[in-house]
Amino acid sequence: MVIVIAFALAVLLAWPVGRYMAHVMRGDRSRLDVVFAPVERLIYKMLRVNPAQGMDWRAYAAAFVVSNVMLAIVTTLIFMFQDLLPLNPDHIPGMSWDLSLHTMMSFLTNTNQQHYSGQAQLSYLSQMTAIVTLQVVTPVMGLAVLVAVLRGIFGGRNAKTAVEGQTRDLGNYWTDVTRATLRVVLPLCFVLSLLLTWQGVPSTFHGGWHATPVDASAGMAEQVIPVGPVSPMVAIKQLGTNGGGWYGPNSATPLENPTPLSNLMELVAIPLLPMACIFMAGAFIGRRRFTLLAFAVMGTLAVALTSLAVWSEQQPNAAAHALIADAPNMEGKEVRIGPIDSALWATLTTQVNNGSVAAMHDSLNPGAGLATMAAMLMNMVWGGIGCGLLGYLVYLWITAFVCGLMTGRTPEVFGRKLETKEIRLLSALMVLQPVVLLGLTAITLGIPAITANSNPGFHGLSQVFYEFTSAYANNGSGFEGLGDNTKWWNLSCFFVLALGRYPAMLIPLAVAGSLAAKRVAPESNGTLRVETPTFGFAMLAVIVLFALLSFLPVLVLGPIGEWLSLAATH
């Protein structure tokens, strides 16, 4: 029941939000200009950019990369030297260089994979400046690149006036990021943050509370209960597909997620903006059918994955087989949240590349573990903000290429031909994921000294594969059970994070830039339409087939093997 309510609520809220986003990203005038325009003008002046200046795809990509490099440097320095910086009442030491690099890249890529435990290893300043800034800005960057790509595949903002050979205007990166941050993400966070504070999530600058445990048998004389400005951070963590919590146990702790209502709000917030992106895209390009088909394709996969996870968690945990009567799997779960909500959270947080967790994914039954991995491998079932739809577009292009041939014409999408150049770019992206994930998994498993996992066999393989998959999908959720704060894990994930983020954004941008300059063929009876049920089925087949063909063997050695072995023994 809660599943249906959460999905319905998310879709219902995403619709108006998406339309509003389209309105904002088009740069339409609005009554809110009175509030936002002066702030925006100030920001443009500080950044020394001309907001009216259009950019072609190269300039747009360059601006995106430059902004990321700047943020990377500042953030890494803050993490390494937080002990010397103010706002550190609990005297937390600076991070090691490799952990700093990993943490920086993790937040810069909107992943929030944490090889540290938030409340213990980050000062208030680190959390409030570096972490929160990246949590707000990086999802918006995904949105900006998506919008630029959408402009590109319809010829750019100057499509109507441009002559052949003229550079195509994909928008202004700085304007897109600024407008989306100020007018979309921050107001939404503000609302959710207030709602969460109302439910009891801490919001204070006070240092940690000291408490005496009621149960003396715990062996502790005194416990420090870390608090801080938690609720705004939880709000952006959920809304911005971030997932990095204030506390290590993330949304399983009562301090981040105190009530059933807060649980529902946080659940709904996970897919809200990725879904809104789909509504935005349709409104932005003026094709409602595009939204419809994207929803149908993603929705079908979401239903399948969610069903598998929820069903799986209702099965008893194999380890508890002989001990208790058959009951749902409660291992690694917060009792307040229970198996169904936990499974829903687990599957949603991996479909959307959010990565916040409300239960230990390590302890999920193999079926649910498989569902979470499959979701991250496809990485376009809702996906990240902007990035999810970019992933969808990549599959759409590849499907259109094969299907286009089958209709007897050079494949085209929205009238623009997919030729060797575009296919070469897309192929590189297709190859990258299996090569990186399978290669690193094999290397890590092959050298026991660096594996640092807590299980042997199928489950141990799953732990390692999950970590890389989560990093590549920019998801950030952890299977846990992995001693991941080591030089190997920090540095390997540093690269996986970057490889999972930048090619997945820059390649679609390059493809869109190349498509933008092409002649548009008008639609005819002979044109392949990419917004029909037939094409939707073809796309589903391509997505599933590609994930299956690339990753079936490793999944067989991981969750599927575990599943079959458990089934065989009982």
Partner: protein, 679 residues
């Protein structure tokens, strides 16, 4: 498909020699240089060599090597099958082209020296720009253009059409082809190509391996297939490392088998053959394409610019109706028109006789004097022995003629003439020395079946535009009758060029037919310029295809050939990828059968043993290539339907079918194999 290929020669059939030659070719293509052109098959070849190494190693160290040997042989067969597909396609193309060319192999030519004297040289010595004299009964030694004289020529050797054609210097019909026979008169031909460089030679080069260039879509597909190969390489190479962690051992031979089964060998092996077969289908339709790209682009055509005359209509105006005026009886008009046309040699005149006879006129006359049409009088007719004078001609000329003789012109004549003109016809007024009898309507007759053809093209999303020099009224009427989507009236050659440019700016791909020198710029501008072989050299150089039959309706066939080429590639790619699902289910449980018995549950096909599972999948993988060669060569059947319907159909057949078929086939092979392995 409507193939108008001639049946006079054994073109397209393969004799035993050709098959033997193709088999040898398949082995020759094993050289690394030739194999490296195809990344997918190259991977298989490398796998074969590794397996062979294991076999030899096993044989020398007295370990069991039967399995390795079996895998090696099947892999080698897979590569050979792929090579064979390409070789067969090449052989067919070569055969088709050779039979076109053989006719001129041992020709000699009378070359004209600068002083005008003649020397006899072998045709192979001729160079571009040489002039040769060809007289009655001689064969034209090389492709060229008539520069002096006029002759009727039998082109049956090349086109299969036995009716002679007229070729005349300085006209749009001055092009001649090497190997054709001069039937009358004597002409001087300027050779237009160096030996080995004629269109036919170029076409032969296009189907032969070495100089064959990949077409744009083929290149894009090759990139995608190479990417998939790398993906599967990553899957297989990393598998032992992952397996070792769960204490499972993976055999190298089985892993190579898995790799070969996964990479898209089916489409990879057939891809070159599909491309060549596309060219062959063009050749079979007597179309010489100057590049593989041209054939491929044909599938993308959005707009066909068709000359009205000869393509949409028969070209000659024919009598289609008699309209009487001033109370004249029908029979009187018919008989008069008939008598006036009996001796008229023009097609119009003949058609009047034909129509009058059809409607029951039996009038006839012996003697009498025929007055032929002239540009001054703009009328023709007959002066009968009994003194009766009958004339037929353009309306204004006839009015003037009647005025001179004080013959009354009935008032309804004007209306009748206008009605015919408005309907797209040409009114021919008939009068004798006493009165004006009526009007014969001459109209362009739309060819039988073109309307259906255009409707089919429309269903595939191709628009047709009719181009004519007629006035807009006439043009509109014919356009409506033929069912074209648009027309251009009073079109001059430069209008054609402009129209092509406009369509292209609108993002459409344009095809057109032309034969005249003044068509050359438009032929060059169009995405597909189909030049008539009867046309001038300039036109043939400008276009990217030449139709040996000089049949403008070929354009429709060209579009179909192009579409078929792309569909075949797409369908077999889909099929190849869909096959992988079953192969995974066959091999993955087999790989780990010994170390992880629980994975046996994935053996949904219940294959007998790991060995038989791997071999069955491999055998299926190898056999599917020769099984699909006929499809690759023939092309996927194409029906005129919308892209949406076409996609649905092909997804069902090649996608869903591609998933299901291998499950069944691998199971059957396993059943057949089990007793062999058990023995």
């Amino acid at each position: 498909m409507n193939t108008q290929a001639s049946t006079h020669s054994p073109r397209g059939t393969m004799n035993r020699n050709a098959i033997r030659e193709s088999l040898l070719d398949s082995v020759r293509k094993l050289t690394p240089r030739s194999a490296a052109r195809n990344p997918v098959m190259f991977t298989v070849l490398v796998g074969t060599i590794i397996c062979a190494g294991y076999t030899v190693h096993g044989a020398f160290t007295h370990q069991p090597f039967g399995f390795a040997l079996a895998v090696t042989l099947i892999l080698l067969l897979t590569v050979l099958f792929a090579n064979f597909a390409e070789a067969v396609a090449e052989a067919r193309g070569r055969g088709q082209a050779m039979s076109l060319r053989s006719t001129r192999a041992e020709l000699s030519a009378r070359r004209l020296r600068a002083d005008g004297s003649e020397e006899v040289v072998p045709a192979t010595m001729l160079r571009k720009g040489d002039r040769v004299r060809v007289s009655v009964g001689e064969a034209i030694p090389a492709d060229g253009e008539v520069v002096v004289g006029v002759a009727s020529i039998n082109e049956a050797a090349v086109t299969g059409e036995s009716a002679p054609v007229l070729r005349e210097a300085g006209t749009d019909r001055s092009g001649v082809i090497g190997g054709t026979m001069v039937l009358s008169d004597s002409i001087v031909v300027e050779v237009s190509t160096d030996p080995g460089d004629s269109f036919l030679d170029r076409m032969i080069a296009l189907v032969e391996g070495a100089s064959r260039q990949k077409t744009p879509n083929e290149l894009a597909l090759t990139v995608l297939l190479a990417a998939l190969t790398i993906v599967f390489l990553a899957v297989v190479v990393t598998l032992p490392g992952q397996a070792a962690f769960v204490n499972a051992k993976a055999d190298v031979i089985v892993l190579i088998a898995l790799l070969v089964c996964l990479i898209p060998t089916t489409i990879g092996g057939l891809l070159p053959a599909i491309g060549i077969a596309g060219m062959n289908r063009a050749l079979k339709a007597n179309i010489i394409a100057k590049s593989g790209k041209a054939v491929e682009v044909a599938g993308d055509i959005d707009v066909l610019l068709l000359d009205k005359t000869g393509t949409i209509t028969h070209g000659d105006r024919r009598a289609t109706d008699f309209v009487v005026v001033g109370g004249v009886r029908d029979i009187e008009l018919r008989d008069a028109a008939l008598l006036a046309s009996l001796a008229d040699p023009t097609p119009e005149g003949k058609s009047i006789v034909h129509l009058a006879r059809e409607r029951g006129s039996i009038a006839d006359v012996v003697g009498g004097e025929f007055v032929p049409f002239s540009a001054q009088t703009r009328m023709s007719g007959v002066d009968l022995p009994d003194g009766r004078v009958i004339r037929k001609g353009a309306s204004d000329a006839m009015r003037a003629w009647a005025g001179e003789r004080a013959i009354a012109v009935p008032p309804e004549l004007t209306g009748a003439v206008e009605r015919i003109a408005r309907a797209g016809g040409t009114p021919l007024v008939v009068a004798d020395d006493r009165r004006v009898l009526g009007v014969v309507a001459l109209s362009d007759v739309v060819k039988h079946g073109v309307r259906d053809r255009f409707a089919q093209l429309r269903a595939m999303g191709v628009r047709t535009v009719m181009i004519t020099g007629d006035n807009p009224l006439t043009a509109a009427a014919i356009a409506a009758e033929a069912g074209v989507d648009d027309f251009m009236a009073e079109a001059r050659p430069e209008d054609k060029l402009q129209r092509i440019r406009d369509e292209q700016i609108g993002g459409r791909m344009v095809a057109m037919v032309g034969d005249g020198t003044n068509d050359a710029p438009a032929l060059a501008q169009a995405d597909i310029g189909l030049a008539m072989n009867s046309g001038t050299q300039a036109a043939k150089e400008a276009g990217n295809m030449v139709d040996l039959d000089s049949d403008p309706t070929k354009l429709l066939q060209v579009v179909e050939i192009g579409k078929q080429l792309l569909i075949t590639r797409g369908a077999l790619t889909t099929f190849s990828l869909a096959n992988d699902v079953a192969k995974y289910f066959a091999i993955i449980p087999a790989v780990f059968a010994a170390s992880i018995p629980a994975l046996g549950r994935l053996n949904v096909m219940h294959l007998t043993s790991p060995t038989s599972a791997v071999l069955s999948a491999l055998i299926f993988n190898a056999l599917i290539i020769p099984a699909l060669i006929p499809l690759a060569l023939r092309g996927v059947r194409i029906r005129p339907m919308s892209a949406e319907a076409l996609l649905r159909r092909n997804l069902l057949i090649y996608g869903l079918g591609g998933v299901i078929l291998p499950f069944v086939a691998i199971k059957i092979i396993d059943l057949l194999l089990t007793p062999l392995l058990g023995a």
